[in-house]
Structure formats: structure tokens, C-alpha cells
Amino acid sequence: MTRLRLLAIILLIIIPLLFYMGVGAYHLFETGWTFYVWWPTALCFGTAYFLGWQVARRMKTKTDSHPGDPHWTDRDQFAWGMVQARVEKSADLDQEALTQPKFYYDTAEAIAKELSVVYQPGASDPVGPVTIPELLTVIELATRELHDRVRKYVPGSHLMTIDHWRKTQKAIGWMKHANNGYWVVSAVLNPVKTAARYLAAKTTLTPLQDRLQRGVINWFYAEFISDVGRYLIELYSGRLKVGAEKYRELQEQTIRADEGGGGASPEARPVTITVIGQVKAGKSSLINALLGERKAQTDVLPCTDTITEYVLKSSGLPATLHIMDSIGYSHEGADADQVDKTAEVVRQSDLVLLVGHARNAAKQADVNFVGALQNWFRTRPQYKIPPIMAVLTHADLLTPAMEWQPPYDWSAGIRPKEKSIRDAVGTARESFPDAANIVPACTAENRQWNVTEGVLAGVVNLLGEARGVAFLRCLDESANEDRVGKVFEQLWSLGKTAYTIFRERAGK
């Protein structure tokens, strides 16, 4: 009933306009002005075509350049590359097939097969070992994501039915037929002028219609492939063992925490940062400089012999930072136990700050430590190595040692000190090609430079990646801790059911 009324109102508004259009068109035809009026119209259509093409292109690039999730390991990125290749190929697919639901199912199956080879190379039935709840989790997560996106990006999607979807295809077909009919009638009335206009319209109007239609459907298909691919990657990496709900919850806590903007939300998981370096490199001094107060004990002699945790909470920071002060290596007093302890803490952290003396190029011990860390992660492709940011302390001691007049523009400046800092960073870059960032600083009290604007800003920049590392680790932890409990729970309910059946039978 409401629909009928709505239709009536729309018609009552449109009919007079349609009448004007008809009368106007007839008038233009009568006076022979059609020819002159056509040109501005063509200009409008041309502009519309250009804009439509731009929109379509942006939509395409948007899906193409999806970088993958920040917590992904190299193996995941490789698999993601295969998914992306499929997205790119989607533009050449038969448009008719894209409206068939079965096509989507087949595609999902094909992606699953393709990706399983990456994760289970050499297995005869790579898809076999996947559990049913895991597969259901993929479907649940992917469809939910797609659902959110369709609601957000496709206007009027909440009223759209499958029928509509099919009809979109047909509606465009009808429009073409109607168009053709119009041209035939016109041609009878005025053959010469019509021929000219037909040619012009063919080059502008028709491709625009095609493009818009293609854009929406292709976009939907590309999103579908991406979502299924993304969650298949999570599935094969064993990260869906925790179930869809727990997965989403952890994702909210870790990766998505800073998307809300502003300060750290209370439920956001803190980011753990471990500060490592050779003995006396200035780890504790850096921590004090970051905290803005003298909390970590510092001395001219080696003094940190335990791992200490400090908490940095600030309204300007998107997350609470837990900073771990580690034991310096390369010291004859530090035993293997302490070095192992530091390595263990580093493996458990989301971000690593490698502190080195700017004046000391003897970074061999650091290179070895980082190398050992990389090896540890290389043999465990399910984890992602935390990003490493190198901090070169004691920048004030660089040539000329007697001068200290910050601020220094070390990346482009021409003062001798600026050049020295640049050279020191360059040397460090050669030693640590994998470092995410290298920042010079001076952490000495009353000579501080580049701590907030350099080091802290660098940390914030890496938070996205650090959160990815945290997310992976949390998933692994909760999957392992729940596994025994889950089996027990299932056994218990199975036992209960069996007992009920047994009692019922016995009662009879």
C-alpha cells in the first residue's frame, strides 16, 4: 500500500516534467534547433563520461592496491599476491557469469585449492586437514565483511533483492532496445541529421552505460575474491583455530584499536616494545628520555642486569606502550642465560628498538643478535618478526664533537654536524638493511634532541605493523591455551547426551 502511494507521488511529480520534455523536444524539432541544442548536451555527456571513467578507475585501483593485513608474514604476502592476480584478471571475465551465484561458489573453491598449495606444499590433498568449524569461520568472516562493504558502498543496497541484481543486467538490455527504437523512428523523420547524431551518441552514451554497470559488478566480484582470499590465508595459517568470534575480538583489540582516532581506547591492547643494544649503548637513557622522567637507572658503568618494564601512557599516543629495558650484550659479565632471556623477551615483543652508539661503528654484536632473531623467525613462518627500529644515540659526540646546537636537520642540512649525523645513519643502514627505520638522537639529560619528534614519532609510525605482530602472537597463544579445554568440553557434552539417551532407553 505504501509502495503504491509512493509511486503515485513520484508519478505526479514526474508526469508534468515528462510532458514538458516531450513538448520541448517537439518544439526544438519543429524549429530545427535540435541541431544547436545537441552540442551543449554532448558536452555534458562527454564530461559525465570522463568523470564516470575516473570513478570506475579509482574503484579498480582501490581493490588492486590492497596491501594485505599488517600482521601477515612473508608466506601470507605471497599467497595474497596470488589472490591479487585473480582480482586483476576479473576485468576480462564474462559479465553474464558474474551474475550467477554458482560462479562465486566455484571461484571460492578454486582459490581455496590454489592457496592450499602454498601452505601445504607437496600434500596430496592439501584441503583435507582443514576442520569444518574453520571452514565455517572463513565463510562467516568473509560474508560479514562483504555485507558491511556492500551496505556502505552500494547505494540502496538494503532494498536490493537477488531479483533486482539479475534485473540490473536486463534493465540495461531494455534500455538499449528502447534506444534503438528511438533511432529508427528519428531516422524515418529526418535521415541526414539522425545519422550524424547517432554516430555522436554511440561514441559517448553507450560506453558510459556499459562502464557504470561493469564497475559495480566487477567491484563486487573483486571484493568477494579479496575477502575469501584473505580469510583463506588466515585459515591456512592456522589463525582461525580460535573461532570467528574470538578472532574478531582480538582483531578489535590489536589491529583496529587505533582506527577510532584520538587517545588509546581502554580496551586496546598495549604495544610491547623491547629496547636492545650493546652494554652502555644508552638503552636506559633512551627510555628515560621517552618517559620524560628519570625512571630507569643509568650510570657511566654497565648497570642494567635485569629486564625491567616501564609503561608509557599519553593522551597523544594511540596506544599504551610497554617498554622493556633489556640487558646489554657484549659484556664479559653478562652470561649466556641473560642473553637468552633478552632474546626471549624480544621474540615476545611487538616492536624492537635497537640502540647503538652513533660514534661506534663496531656493530658486529648487534648484527649477530639481529641475525639470530631473523633466523629464529625464518624457521617459524607462522610468526612475523617484529619491526626493528634502530636508534643512534650520542649524536652530540659526532664530529665536530665540541659543537652541540640543536635542532639539526640531519637528512638535508649542510652543517658539518648534520653531515656527520647523516653519514652515521648511512653506515648504520649498511649494517642493518632490514631495519624499518634508523633515527639519530641525543638522550643525555639537558642535551636531548630528536627523542619525541624522531624516536617516538617513528614508533607511532610502526604501530600498525607492531599491532599485526601482536595480533598473530595473541591468536597463537589463545589457540593453544584453549585447545585442551575445547576437547574436554566437547567430550563432556557428548557424554551428557549419551547418558541421557542411555537413561531414556533404560527407562523404557
Binding site: V279, K280, Y329, H331, E332, R359, A362, D396, M402
Partner: protein, 387 residues
């Protein structure tokens, strides 16, 4: 008299086995001090070499030649007639470093071990371990510990003057941080070293009023610990570099002293007449090298044309020297002194000749002869056999 002086220089590079063996023997007898430098990179090893030799740091960097897997050497002023030799074990701080290879090569050669450690750097695990092994291989060999980069303890401040560490490592007027750090270093290295010298050799651009802070103490310590026999070279080098302030002379003098010392080594070979065969080659090479230092290879040949007139006198002296050698004990020392003096005088004569030519008048034979005699007299000041 001396028909092919210039060609003699080629003997050095040549295939003449007998000559090469003779030169090697002469080098051995020239008592060249060999310093074995140990320390992490950027602890100031090159600065120490620069301070001791006066050679520009870039030249030192280019002059290093690899000798073992972990080490390189810098013969000063040149590989043919080195006056001082510096062995630099670069790999000392690498965890996989094994000193066995370097010990096999250097243990007999090295006279002094110079360990450089930044005063505030306490990451010395590898260094301490390897130094212990090296020390055990020859416990009697002096080991000097240089605590470098003192200014890092008092950033952007000038060094306390005068140099306070002359008599004690813990003078009253230095910062507490530095004192405590030095104490820890002393404790760490106490059984491994014979002397500890706090030092800060900086480049002029660092802006310190005293760029060679503690340099004198370093030199004194080296002289105190060098074996007597080879102390002489250090003293000679020190004497000539402090006497000649002129820039090109400062570069030429080490060359003259190095070949003269080599000649002295040849002179010390107790077999009569063998150095008569070696000396012309050594002297010819010296003149060729000096000409390169001055950037005028051609001037060497023109010098020989006049210098050949010196020949008669030189030869007569040489013959006398060979006769002395026959007297046991006295002979080789006197022979060495004379060979040093004649080579030294010849080198000095070339420098004076070259300067005169540059000023537009070519000295005649008589003038050159007078110069030669004068310089021969001076040479004894720089050469005191046996230290």
C-alpha cells in the same frame, strides 16, 4: 762510475734472487719496530698511527694491505723499506675470531701490542678473551692499553689542562664518571696490560684546543717499553720529524730515514762486501721514491748525472768500511753507522738539490759534494747504534 743508477732501483722489483734475499736480511737487521694494534673499530687506531708517523689518515687507510683473514698491515713509509710496521687485527671483535692464525704470523714479529679501548666503552667481551690468548703466547711482550675518546665523558667541554694523567690514572681534577670508568677498565685489563695511557687524539675539525691530548705520554710509554735494540728507529723518526717543519720535507724525511735504516741493516750484515752489492740498489730506490714524493720523477735522473761525481769518495769509504767489518764485534756496528750516514746524506743532498732546481739554479758538482759531506756529519746525530 755509477753507470746505471736508475736501473738499480728496478732491482727491488726485479727477479734477482740474491739481491732480494740480501734485502730481506737487511730489513731483518734494520730493527724495525712492529706494533700490533688491537681494538674494536673506531677506537682510534688510525689516529694513533697518524700521530706516531705523521702520515695523513687517508694515506694510512689506503696503505693498509691485507695479511691474514682478520688482519692487515701498514708498513710506514712504504712496503720496500718500512721504518715502522703496524699490524691491525680488525676481526678482534668478531665472535668467530680465532687468534691462532694471527699468532702464527705475528707472534715472533710484533714487539709491542697496542690495545685501543674507548674509555667509556664497556662492551669488551671479545677483546678481553682474545687479548688473554695473545698475551699467553708471549708473556714478556709489552702490552699498552690506550683509553681513548676521553671527551665522551665530558661532552662539549675542552680537555683539562695540563694533561693530568702523567703520574696517576686518578688525578683530582677529572670528572667522577671518567674516574669510575677508568677504574673499571683498569680492573678488567689489570692482568693483561703493562701500562695504561688515557689519550684523546682528535682531528682538528672536532674543535679541541689540544688535538694530541696525551700524545707525549703515549710516546714516552712506547719508548719505555720498546726493546732497547729497536728503540733507535723511534728516536730517529721523532728527531727528524721534529727538526724539519717544512711540509714536503716532513714527507721526504721518513723516506730518507727508512732507506737509511735499511742501508744500516745491510751494513750490519757481518759478511764483507755483501752490502756493497746491496747499497746502490737501496740508494737508487730511495732517490726514485723521493722523486715521486716531490712529484718529479725526471729530476732523479738529472740528479744522478751530477751525483756520479760523488762516486769516487763514496766508493773509497765503502771499501774502508768493508775492511772494518773484518774486525769482529766492532765491524758490523761501524759498518751499519756508515751505511746509514751515506744513504742519509745522499737523500738529504737530493732534497737540497731539488729545492735549488725549483729556485732556478742547478747546483754544480762541488756544491753537491759539500752538501753531502755536511749531511754525512749530521747523520750521526740521528743514528746511535744499539740505542
Amino acid at each position: 762510475m755509477y753507470p746505471s743508477w736508475a736501473n738499480l732501483a728496478n732491482l727491488f722489483a726485479g727477479r734477482d734472487q740474491k739481491f732480494q734475499a740480501g734485502i730481506a736480511d737487511a730489513r731483518h737487521r734494520a730493527n724495525m719496530p712492529v706494533f700490533w694494534m688491537l681494538g674494536r673499530t673506531q677506537t682510534g687506531k688510525t689516529s694513533v698511527i697518524h700521530y706516531l708517523t705523521g702520515a695523513p689518515e687517508a694515506e694510512i687507510g689506503n696503505g693498509f694491505r691485507p695479511c691474514t683473514r682478520y688482519s692487515r698491515e701498514y708498513p710506514f713509509p712504504n712496503p720496500e723499506a718500512p721504518l715502522l710496521n703496524f699490524l691491525d687485527t680488525r676481526g678482534i671483535d668478531e665472535p668467530g675470531y680465532d687468534p691462532a692464525e694471527d699468532l702464527a704470523q705475528f707472534n715472533d714479529k710484533a714487539h709491542v701490542i697496542v690495545v685501543t679501548v674507548k674509555a667509556l666503552d664497556h662492551a669488551q667481551e671479545n677483546l678481553v678473551r682474545n687479548l688473554d690468548t695473545i698475551r699467553r703466547a708471549k708473556p714478556g711482550r709489552p702490552v699498552l692499553l690506550l683509553l681513548t675518546c676521553l671527551h665522551e665523558a665530558y661532552p662539549q667541554k675542552q680537555h683539562p689542562t695540563p694533561y693530568p694523567f702523567g703520574s696517576s690514572l686518578y688525578p683530582p681534577n677529572i670528572s667522577v664518571d671518567l674516574t669510575r670508568s677508568i677504574a673499571l677498565q683498569q680492573d678488567r685489563f689489570k692482568t693483561l696490560v703493562d701500562d695504561i695511557i688515557p689519550i684523546d687524539l682528535t682531528k682538528p675539525e672536532e674543535g679541541f684546543a689540544e688535538p694530541n691530548y696525551g700524545g707525549d705520554a703515549l710516546k714516552q710509554s712506547i719508548l719505555d717499553h720498546l726493546p732497547k735494540a729497536i728503540r733507535q728507529t723511534m728516536l730517529t723518526l721523532d728527531a727528524v720529524t721534529s727538526e724539519f717543519r717544512d711540509e714536503s720535507l716532513r714527507r721526504a724525511m721518513p723516506v730518507i730515514v727508512s732507506y737509511s735504516t735499511l742501508a744500516a741493516g745491510a751494513g750490519a750484515i757481518p759478511v764483507p762486501f755483501i752490502d756493497m752489492f746491496l747499497l746502490p740498489g737501496i740508494q737508487a730506490k730511495m732517490i726514485a721514491d723521493l722523486a715521486t714524493v716531490y712529484g718529479q720523477p725526471l729530476s732523479a735522473e738529472r740528479f744522478w748525472e751530477i751525483a756520479s761525481s760523488l762516486g769516487a769518495g763514496v766508493l773509497a769509504r765503502q771499501a774502508a768500511r768493508e775492511a772494518i767489518k773484518i774486525i769482529p764485534g766492532v765491524g758490523s756496528a761501524a759498518g751499519a753507522a756508515l751505511a746509514f750516514g751515506m744513504t742519509f746524506a745522499l737523500g738529504r743532498a737530493f732534497c737540497i738539490y731539488y729545492r735549488a732546481v725549483c729556485q732556478g739554479h742547478v747546483p754544480d758538482t762541488g756544491t753537491l759534494k759539500r752538501i753531502f759531506e755536511e749531511e754525512l756529519g749530521k747523520a750521526s746525530r740521528f743514528w746511535k747504534p744499539g740505542g
